[in-house]
Assembly symmetry: C3
Homo-oligomer: 177 residues x 3
């Protein structure tokens, strides 16, 4: 019961059944790179546009794109600070998982995206929030990486754990990205 | 309802329901490396052999293995051409995601695969087509990377977008590879 | 309705059927790095704690963490031996998929994990076995990599193939990690 996330209990019986058939989308966003944030948020927003309930559970490296762009080094202990220095968070600092070429790859990708009208990560994130996509930061990752709620952007759900993500995943289309 | 892709409408009511219950397999093939194409196509072909409807949605780096082997540099603008040069498409040019060692890794893997009777990527792709696996190239990626239908192998479905892939994913086993 | 997990067990007869319908968790563990083993086993063990049937199918690089820590170089032919030398198996030898820094990254991560009470890979693996998570090594990968049952830890299921994994995946939450 307590694991169940936010299904409107106001909906009448038939609506629930209909919802069950179409199912929702739950993405475990683990990676955090530009080329992984793209499919994560494009799939999330497309599913939301199709009327599906969508949850994205940001965990491990996946949490870093949710760090505020104006945030500097994060973390309590030196290892967390060093990690944050090597893997700077925020949508402005995303790398490619391959062919990063010291940042030239992401710059090229962003230029191509603009040219071909593909929304950038910040726009996609804003749209996701507007469309009611639930963005859940992983509490354990926050502890491990030394990230606080103040380090993260606004409009996120309360930090939660694997059990919450798995409960949302039940009966939904699930992807680990 | 209209979102549901390609369910045989000839089947009688109970059969449809049964099929729906066991579900199909939908793979989001994002990666494009040799060691990712292997599980993608082995799982796709195995599921097809088990009688399941299978769809593979090739997106982002995942599109490059579908480029014709006799195709040279692809793309309209220099950034796309450069990308195609650095990340040569086609089943003959696949890398490993780790331990690539300038191509020595893939050569070793292919040798081991031959020795232990594991089909190579080209054979798996041919088999997938023969078995009726739907291979859908992502339209947005084609735009972004400057790939045209002429750049891609024969036997693919019409290019489509995330909505098509998500519709197919409904009720199916879904994997992001 | 049936999508909802973890209803109080006060529910009458249909509860059993409900549980079956909501399905379990099947993870295709392909990657084998420390930062991928973590989500694999944390999700597996969490789902098991929630009473779900859980299967992890270890394939390709994912098989290496299951190699015994006291095992040296594995494989029959020199290419397999070389692979095992470059990609040493066992939970003690796991790398990070990014920011590995010649082993400094994993050491830091393990230190942080200890500090914030996140269980290490060996503990998670032991817990998984205790909780009845089915750990299936991929037969084809074993052949390809030259790994024998004697090379792998105790407590695993019989080696199996893609068909077995896909059968378990039917109706379950599925993730490719």
């Amino acid at each position: 019961m307590t694991l169940v996330m936010d299904r409107p209990s106001t909906a009448p019986e038939p609506a629930v059944e209909e919802k069950k058939e179409t199912g929702g989308l739950v993405i475990f966003a683990w990676s955090g790179e530009l080329d992984k944030i793209w499919p994560t948020l494009i799939l999330a927003n497309t599913a939301a546009a199709l009327g599906k309930p969508v949850t994205v559970f940001f965990t491990f490296w996946g949490l870093f794109p949710l760090v505020r762009n104006d945030r500097g080094i994060t973390g309590d202990v030196w290892m967390q600070k060093m990690l944050s220095f090597m893997n700077r968070g925020g949508t402005k600092n995303l790398r490619l998982s391959k062919m990063n070429f010291m940042g030239m790859g992401p710059a090229m990708m962003k230029t191509l995206a603009k040219r071909y009208n593909v929304a950038g990560p910040q726009d996609l994130l804003d749209t996701a929030k507007e469309m009611g996509v639930k963005l859940i930061p992983c509490q354990m990752t926050m502890d491990l990486m030394g990230l606080t709620k103040e380090d993260l952007i606004d409009g996120l759900e309360e930090p939660a754990g694997a059990a919450t993500a798995l409960a949302a995943a039940d009966g939904a289309t699930t992807l680990f990205i």
